[in-house]
Homo-oligomer: 251 residues x 2
């Protein structure tokens, strides 16, 4: 298990509660928040590792790296064998639509899939510190158990987003495709009172390019369903290869 | 233009030389190396911006952020309009196969594609400081000119890798798919002589899952060709959606 909100996140404890009945847990999470770290790796500095807890059924480590670092570190140096399941999360905030690209949670899950481990990223669509993880825990445990039993197709991770609703109001689960959209107007200058110079803070809003479209994760979430997008990491745009051939290679 | 090897990289200067005859250049690059930063964004701290040069046809900024930050910062705060072309690179080292996922160069190019800008990441398959960028400049300029003239299909970036060969030995250009493979055994412990504690450095080797396969970027490069993979950012694994439906949702 790992996450991108750091070892201290409420969502990590919720994930531990979710998976505790499912088997032995091995947790390795970043020492500080790494939201938006995507699939980044730590290359120019070493990663420090701290053992926080070694008890029956639960090992916990903290690492000075990214979520993807945590997965590589665990599988290459710490675990005696590949795990039966990798869970990243439960993230504080949605990772639906194109946020899958920016998400450190999904970076970790995709790294797991690259290494051949059945991998799931869980995200609750709420940034509140007091967010209600009850529905995430209930449905997440069911999903995790099925994947532990049956595995996943090779090179596939699941991007699971849970609407910010009380457990009783969640309508069920839908398998979805990634909604088309983008984040817009992303940096805002602010005067640093100490230096008198402008600094730029990431802001912005999500622009949905197909609101209400059938079959997308955004639509499922807006209708009260948990969305599951199966995610792969072959980025090739097969359908435009001929067009690019004509555009670039031919004269 | 941006890159992930920092404002001081030889490859950035090579990209400037490549594009200088093509139009006005606007450069914004990270203040330090950001290799392996993928599509990471800077969320918890502000990004600082320094103007290094403002002359006719060439503006240069340095930013304390990631390559994807640079793209967002330029398009949201600095450029008077969207550019005709975004170029990331020329990267020192290959970004073929699954390296596209880890690459800060390709993170920037994909961010450009998300914003609707025709975007190309260029990578030379050599980490040498004295690498020969002649073939990159020659072929890259031709590719860039065609894209400036004709654009790219929506939501597509190009991942261009150039073999480390003298210009005269490059055989041509091939449009390719992403080779299947993964990076293995990634972290190695080393004793820090100061603290007496282990630290973990990213190492590892690339494992090619389909050596010599027809149509892949790895094969094209190994045969002396420049590889171009058209890259998209819909991560949905459409072909397994039914399987996941049966696996997770049905009882």
């Amino acid at each position: 298990m790992t996450n991108d909100d750091s070892i201290n996140a409420t969502g990590l404890q919720a994930a531990i509660d979710m998976l505790a009945p499912c088997g032995e847990l091995f947790v390795i999470a970043p020492d500080e928040p790494r939201s938006g770290s995507s699939h980044a790796l730590t290359i120019n500095t070493p990663v420090k590792l701290t053992s926080l807890r070694q008890s029956e059924g639960l090992s916990v480590y903290m690492a000075s790296g990214t979520p993807a670092d945590c997965v590589k570190l665990a599988t290459s140096c710490l675990l005696p064998r590949m795990p039966d399941l990798l869970v990243a999360g439960i993230n504080h905030g949605s990772n639906s639509s194109v946020s899958v690209i920016y998400s450190g949670t999904m970076g970790a899950a995709i790294e797991g899939a690259m290494l051949g481990v059945p991998s799931i990223g869980f995200s609750l669509c709420s940034h509140s510190r007091d967010a209600d993880f009850a529905a995430s825990i209930k449905y997440g445990r069911t999903i995790a158990r099925k994947i532990i039993e049956q595995g996943l197709p090779p090179h596939i991770a699941l991007n699971v987003n849970i609407p910010a609703l009380p457990e009783s109001e969640v309508k069920g689960i839908r398998i979805c495709r990634q909604n088309r959209g983008y984040w817009n107007e992303d940096f805002a200058p602010q005067l640093n009172p100490l230096t008198g110079e402008n600094e730029y803070w990431l802001t912005g809003f999500y622009h949905n390019e197909e609101p209400g479209a059938a079959g997308t994760d955004e639509t499922a979430l807006s209708e009260g369903y948990i969305s599951i997008v199966p995610v792969q990491f072959d980025m090739t745009a097969y359908e435009v290869m001929n067009e690019i051939q004509g555009l670039v290679v031919s004269d």
